[in-house]
Symmetry: C2
Subunit: 157 residues, 2 copies
């Protein structure tokens, strides 16, 4: 997989915050329940996001987390950078420590092209995409529920 489990959780967390809006403070355990992520672990990840300046954090009663920027200003790449660190993308295709641009391994050039593509995906995919896609999915679910009822009328058991 392209990025770690914690990074997956981070993406879903930021998406959750994006859907709730930038003003409201959301507590870690609320996100954990909604997204089925282990709460203490999510707290750690949220701290990383806060240190990386992707979210605001507020202690105490009424505290919680909120996004520092709007959804379309946050790319997958930024989350990935903060949680996994970008060095993981620099790894040689076959794990050779000495492989680099100056002394490339046999797969270096082809793998580099893949890497460029992956980086583009990460940098161009924003959390806006995720928020919008959820809206689209809801419409789809409602449409499918409607079709489901029609089909039941036509096909008695």
């Amino acid at each position: 997989m392209l990025y770690s489990r914690p990074c997956e959780y981070a993406i879903r967390t930021v998406a959750y915050l994006a859907r709730t809006g930038t003003e409201r403070r959301v507590q870690a355990h609320e996100i954990a329940i909604a997204e089925r992520i282990p709460a203490p672990f999510l707290a750690k990840i949220l701290q990383q996001l806060a240190r990386g300046n992707l979210v605001n954090s507020f202690k105490g009663p009424g505290g919680g987390f909120s996004l520092k920027r709007s959804a379309e200003e946050i790319s997958l790449y930024e989350i990935f950078r903060v949680v996994d660190g970008v060095e993981t993308l620099d790894r040689c295709a076959v794990g050779l420590a000495e492989c680099n641009d100056f002394a490339p391994c046999p797969l270096h050039d082809t793998w580099k092209a893949v890497r460029v593509h992956l980086l583009r995906y990460l940098k161009t995919t924003t959390l806006k995409e995720m928020a919008e896609a959820v809206v689209r999915k809801k419409e789809l679910v409602e449409r499918m529920a409607c079709q489901g009822r029609k089909k039941n009328r036509r096909s008695p058991p």
Copy 2:
């Protein structure tokens, strides 16, 4: 990273066998030393490759492993399939268990495009590429060594 550590080792192993030719039997510990891979672990990986019909295995004196096919007939995808299993590529972009083509998560379509690209890379990159690239690298190293000597003459300490 796209595939596991064992899969990296497998690719390097198959490349090593490709360079030695399909006839000669190569022992596990020879490859382990040459590629700096833990020998007992490599033996396990080689067994997977044998079970997956990528290599021949021979027990006893004079035994070892050899490729079942020529380098250009073995893609990275085949090695990946045998060592990691292809289900790892089916994983949702953000780790949602219920995400599939019929109930896609918000990133499903964009991630799917990335996946297609990765699959193409894996399926079109063969071990022939690796074997040829090693030859090219040797020529480059010799050329650089030559330039290194010229430069030393020009730049006394």
